[in-house]
Symmetry: C2
Subunit: 389 residues, 2 copies
């Protein structure tokens, strides 16, 4: 096992009606003037935004608002948020929404305390050393941004989708009310679940040996997702299943199951180009990407894929030919993703074969490769995109 | 799933040589005058204490020392520590040792900022609202105190062993170097592993329905313990196995796998009387206690015991008679504990049949019962002790 540091100081308020604690928690973590950052109509229509405002009002906390975050959040709104916060002397960012809103909030929080262009953090020119405190009220189980140090933003110019990470942007608190996710359409619920499963697979595909504890934890969380997701597709109001998914989504990405081991992140890298170019749901893109990546890289460590096939997907171990078992595990993943309504091909996603060269080039921009579980050249990445046709 | 709050802000520095970060981390978390609290000779003989002092010296941090913590740590040394800290204006407690040293440190940290008798926190008269910051350098994977809000102390008068908990005594940082545990005798290693497994079983035995995510996480951590513990019994220098156990021990007790569900703690309650009276290793006491408690309470929810028998112990499900499967799971646990050298009976532990009445009375002192997975009267507890004969 590799040496590591782990620090996850986010306070989680989990359960029914927990959004009513927003004011109390902003106060506890030192906020006095809040930017409420959110996306589109659903948090307004559902009355969630009003409940959050009422909670802030009850504690006498002033706030300004900035809505309009889109899936695959854009740099334009981040600049707008930074300007607004500086003008209004905001000292706390409260994200009300999903991963996109939280990632946008983290970018604003870091940009407010930085003299240069916030994009420096995303293109690798600078590291986030400080940021305004961020709190979240989560409305979809997916990105895990509620408990992670990560943020992904898309720059409109060139549609470049890039990520950054720093403990300084870990949320101070996250409010997780599973009931808030009950109104999500089935497709978005399934895309969120796929994103969570991808966070687990990306950590599972490691080159570090003898990491049984984190292996088992990852397997456990995938098993929970495989058991609980079909329940909420069948009955969107299954609160307990929503709750299981929401906690699994946080645990999948706060990195407690990824410490001390190399991780992959190839599927995320290859998918990012799809959602940046076609504006598809990130989880849907991952459903198309993961099986292709795993099929292409499987031979790098067949036993790893056989292990997850046996332990998670219940496949019989083919001791004479473990590759058969490894393949069956990938097929089982595909079958599961299809069963919850996810796409498996370029066509189903709305992606185009003629873009493949460009996609592969953008995905490997700079270094000319993607390094994770294996090292992939631009040509390898092109081959992987072709497996999705 | 029940509503809950979860807050685990401890910074973990994990891996080889991580004790050399002690000075840096004390400084990071605001310490300027440290009490180094430790147990007996091993941290001195191994040179660990010298390395920790060198690390503090390198950062220019002053310190005083208090050794002498014993297993099942006593109130007498806590009073001594509180007096010393007040006299020396100590502002940070650094525990160098195992669960006993950390628990004693937490008690001192809370007692220093409290006008009354620190025992008030342990006998239920008061709740810990504030404490000096505590850091730890862990030397045995067992109690999970390095990432928990808990502390257990034994009062010499009457040998009363009682616990308390508060976020105020969660360590600010914990240094986890698995190599430090390589010099432990096999018996202590096994007793530590048993304590970890008990922390998982106590959380598993819940009356809350539909808690698949935390069920799976608990099963995963027990599976990891069952795989890794025999490796370190066979080869004490197996660093990776030690590392897997150390991380599992922290995860087992920081409560991320116990949130939103009722928990048991019956085995701990019944065991505490054994280690208080006979001064046996807590883990060894748990090895004797757990199978007796589970056998006695199994009928309260046979399917729960069948589930862990199938998922963890690899038992075949007897669909016609799940109780058979449940029993086989308990037998498998006993077989495992025996295989790592743990005692299974009163005799092996050095406990005496004639003390059973007194043990049962002390275990149920006050309320006349133990309430957890089930409700047990003094008579029930007496019956459970008799199952250990």
């Amino acid at each position: 096992m590799d040496n590591f540091s782990f620090y996850s100081p986010t306070y989680f308020a989990f359960g029914k009606d927990s959004e009513n604690r927003a004011g109390e928690l902003v106060k506890r973590f030192g906020g006095s003037k809040v930017l409420i950052h959110y996306g589109g109509g659903s948090v307004v229509r559902s009355g969630l935004l009003d409940r959050v405002k009422a909670s802030l009002n009850a504690e006498g906390i002033a706030f300004v608002e900035l809505g309009g975050v889109k899936p695959n959040p854009r740099s334009g709104l981040v600049y707008e948020g930074i300007d607004l916060c500086k003008k209004e002397n905001v000292d706390f960012i409260l994200a009300v929404g999903g991963g996109s809103t939280i990632d946008s909030s983290k970018a604003i929080a870091a940009g407010c305390l930085y003299d240069g262009d916030f994009w420096d953090f995303y293109c690798g020119k600078a590291h986030i050393e400080k940021a305004l405190p961020v709190g979240t009220v989560l409305t979809i189980a997916a990105a895990g941004s509620e408990g992670s140090p990560d943020s992904v933003i898309t720059k409109e110019e060139g549609m470049l989708k890039r990520g950054t990470g720093s403990d300084a942007i870990r949320p101070k608190f996250s409010i997780l009310n599973p009931a808030l996710t009950q109104t999500l359409p089935a497709y978005q619920t399934a895309a969120g679940a796929t994103d969570i499963i991808a966070h687990l697979y990306e950590r599972y595909l490691t080159n570090t040996k003898n990491v049984e504890t984190t292996d088992r934890m990852i397997e456990a969380l995938i098993l929970a997702m495989v058991n609980e997701t079909p329940k909420v597709i069948a009955d969107p109001n299954d609160y307990d299943a929503r709750a299981n998914i929401m906690w699994a989504g946080m645990m999948a990405h706060n990195n407690s199951c990824g410490v001390g081991r190399s991780q992959d992140w190839t599927s995320h890298g290859i998918e990012h180009e799809l959602s940046a170019l076609y504006d598809c749901a990130h989880g849907a893109g991952l459903a198309v990407t993961m099986p292709a990546v795993f099929t292409y890289t499987m031979k790098h460590d067949v036993m790893r894929f056989a292990q997850i096939a046996v332990r998670v997907w219940g496949c019989q171990m083919d001791f004479a030919n473990p590759e058969n078992t490894a393949k069956k595990g990938i097929e089982a993943l595909k079958g599961f993703l299809k069963s919850i309504g996810m796409p498996l091909t370029f066509d189903e996603l709305g992606a185009k074969e003629e873009d493949i060269k460009k996609l592969a080039e953008t995905a490997t921009l700079g270094s000319g490769k993607i390094v994770g579980f294996t090292e992939l050249s631009t040509e390898d990445v092109e081959n992987i995109y072709r497996l999705m046709l």
